[in-house]
């Protein structure tokens, strides 16, 4: 595997996708806040879309397939983020259970 | 090794380096001399002289200011998030300069002619929001925090009408390529997109909406909620000093230049002469700097809008009109 031709290897992209996925899983389990889980979820989706893109580019007869799928994933992710964030704001508004240390710490 | 000195390759490398250096120099030059104009033009409006001591007509004033900024220490206040605090100016200034790289200044002077030029500018200018916001948040200053929250709401609100206008424009021109868009407007000023009433009778209004959104996106007065000095001192940049502030400054003017250049390209026929004669860089610069002058002119004419007034303007006025423009454009395209 030549360094120069790294960007033309399917496996490289697949591994990056796998790592992103794993990092996403790690974050999903580690974080307990909604935002943390949302971030991790976006990473998992990113790993998946990178796979789609890589397969679409290297192995599909029609490269559009992968791109279209990734576009749909982006759309879904946007919808997911909007919903999740509005839920967060609504939860916060009703319960205000989450600490607000920082703004209080700033003296005066 | 000999092949490395191949003529084309050397030329290409020289071109790349020249454009890279040239763009950064252009951004810095604009920041410097637009800031001088930012002081000179209001001085005419306000019956004053403006800077006139450093150099003839104050022409060396920006140099003096630059030296002052460079020699000042970048202070980081206690409690600030140092990494993000130092990352933020870079995140603001790099996308701004990258946007500049796609602007076709004339028929031949194009740093990088990308097919998706318009989209490139829009995606990269979206990054500066995060940069400004990080700067405000990382400053550990309440005024800066408020400004950080404001910059997001403002930019989200104004991205929508801006994109709607651009979608209708892309529908008319069938292209994301800025070069192609300009070439379609060759001829006289009546062929410019701003007067392309056959495509949509709302085109002049669309230009005004574009201009307003551009002001709001680059956080310029009367939409300068982010650095509203009578409320938030210097907003997100309150804690920045020295070149940290200088970079924000360069980015602000680079954004203005990009916005004005894009307005020139999309609506005012780019490098084409209004009478169809002698197209060239000078026409582009004249139009672009006229828009820059208007930006400054607007800034010094009006009070600042309220925050919710700004959102109201976007949601209740600009977005409906932009949507109407989009629909009219679609109908006209289908009909004719």
């Amino acid at each position: 595997m030549n360094f120069i031709h790294l960007s033309e290897q399917l496996n490289v992209y697949l591994m990056i996708g796998a790592l992103l996925f794993a990092i996403g899983i790690f974050g999903f389990l580690k974080h307990r806040t909604l935002v943390g889980m949302l971030i991790s979820g976006e990473l998992i989706l990113a790993g998946a879309s990178l796979n789609f893109m890589a397969f679409g580019h290297f192995r599909a007869a029609d490269p559009i397939t992968g791109q279209a799928f990734t576009l749909f994933i982006i759309g879904i992710a946007a919808a997911e983020a909007a919903i999740a964030l509005s839920i967060m704001i609504a939860v916060y508004r009703n319960y205000r259970s989450i600490e607000t240390r920082d703004l209080k710490e700033m003296e005066g | 090794m000999m092949t490395l000195l191949h003529n084309d390759f050397v030329l290409e490398m020289i071109r790349l380096v020249l454009y890279a250096v040239g763009l950064i120099a252009f951004a810095a030059f604009n920041a410097a001399y637009l800031s001088l104009l930012e002081r000179k033009i209001p001085s005419w409006f306000q019956l004053r002289y403006g800077p006139k001591e450093v150099g003839w007509w104050g022409l060396l004033q920006p140099v003096a200011d630059g030296i002052k900024l460079l020699t000042k220490q970048l202070l980081v206040q206690r409690g600030a998030d140092v990494v993000l605090f130092k990352l933020a100016p870079a995140m603001v200034v790099i996308p701004a300069i990258m946007c500049l790289a796609t602007i076709p200044f004339s028929e031949t002077l194009v740093p990088r002619n990308i097919n998706l030029g318009l989209l490139v500018i829009f995606s990269f200018s979206a990054i500066h929001v995060i940069g400004t916001m990080l700067g405000g948040w990382a400053s550990y200053n309440k005024y800066a925090s408020i400004a950080a929250a404001r910059v997001v709401a403002q930019n989200i609100a104004y991205e929508i009408p801006l994109l709607l206008i651009l979608v209708s424009l892309v529908m008319i021109t069938h292209s994301f390529n800025l070069h192609t868009i300009v070439d379609q407007q060759a001829g006289g000023f009546w062929r410019w997109n701003v007067l392309r009433l056959s495509a949509s009778p709302l085109m002049p209004v669309a230009f005004i909406i574009y201009f307003i959104c551009m002001l709001a996106e680059s956080n310029r007065a009367p939409f300068d909620m982010v650095e509203a000095e009578s409320e938030l001192i210097a907003g997100a940049f309150t804690e920045y000093s020295g070149m940290g502030f200088g970079l924000f400054f360069i980015a602000e003017y680079a954004n203005i230049v990009v916005g004005c250049a894009l307005g020139t390209i999309l609506f005012l026929g780019g490098w084409h002469c209004p009478f169809g004669l002698l197209p060239g860089l000078h026409w582009f610069l004249i139009k672009m700097y006229f828009l820059c002058f208007t930006v400054i002119w607007v800034r010094w004419s009006f009070p600042r809008t309220q925050f919710y007034g700004l959102l109201n303007l976007s949601w209740k006025v600009l977005i409906p009109i932009a949507l109407a423009n989009l629909m009219i454009t679609a109908i006209m395209l289908k009909l004719f």
Binding site: F3, I4, S7, Y13, A18, L20, F21, A22, G24, I25, F26, F28, L29, K30, H31, R32, V35, G36, I39, L43, L50, M53, H57, D62, P63, Q67, A68, L71, F72, I74, G75, I76, A77, A79, A81, I83, S86, M88, I89, A90, R93, I98, E99 | T3, L4, D8, F9, E12, L116, L119, S123, A126, I127, V129, I130, M133, L134, A148, A149, V152
Partner: protein, 179 residues
């Protein structure tokens, strides 16, 4: 190997590629590992910027720009905005729990990652197609979206519309008069 301008370009491209990979992965790690939520989002934004670069290497600049425009320009900004609006912060847990969940999550992530990477290395994919039906340009993408994927496209737009309405409804429901 002769050193031609082409190899020089390829070297630059390779360095850029390595840079994008590094930014993607480092950003992703910051996005999950940093303790401050704002840093997490910044990491996410960086990771997506790197990912956009990778998409560019996969010959789809349109997707790369959409990635920046939507993920960085919209989603990351919205997350940050929500954090500012709701003043969200990471919960503080005891160091024991922190280490325990950290180690547990790491093990679980490895349990996913190692088989996946092994799978990638070991498996032999079907060979590349002899010829591609199109070059994956934006025109092709647009045509495909409106013909072959027309149904999915419409579905996505309905989902987005519902998401917007749902987000409005949820966010409004929490609003109390006088507060």
């Amino acid at each position: 190997m002769t050193f031609t301008p082409d190899t020089f370009y390829a070297l630059i491209a390779a360095v850029l590629f390595a840079g994008f990979v590094a930014v993607t992965l480092l950003g992703a790690i910051v996005a999950v590992a940093a303790r401050s939520l704002v840093r997490n989002v910044t990491g996410l934004a960086l990771s997506f910027l790197g990912l956009a670069g990778l998409y560019y290497f996969l010959h789809s600049p349109f997707l790369a720009l959409m990635q920046i425009l939507i993920y960085v320009g919209a989603i990351c900004v919205t997350i940050m905005f929500a954090m500012m609006l709701a003043e969200l912060h990471e919960e503080t847990r005891s160091w024991f729990m922190t280490i325990l969940t950290g180690v547990g999550s790491f093990v679980a992530a490895c349990a996913f990652a190692i088989p996946l990477i092994l799978l990638v290395r070991r498996s032999s994919w079907m060979p590349a197609p002899a010829a591609q039906v199109n070059i994956g340009s934006i025109e092709d993408l647009g045509r495909a979206l409106l013909t072959r994927y027309g149904f999915a496209f419409e579905l996505i737009s309905v989902v987005l519309l519902l998401a917007i309405l749902g987000a409005l409804a949820v966010a409004r429901s929490g609003r109390k008069p006088n507060s």
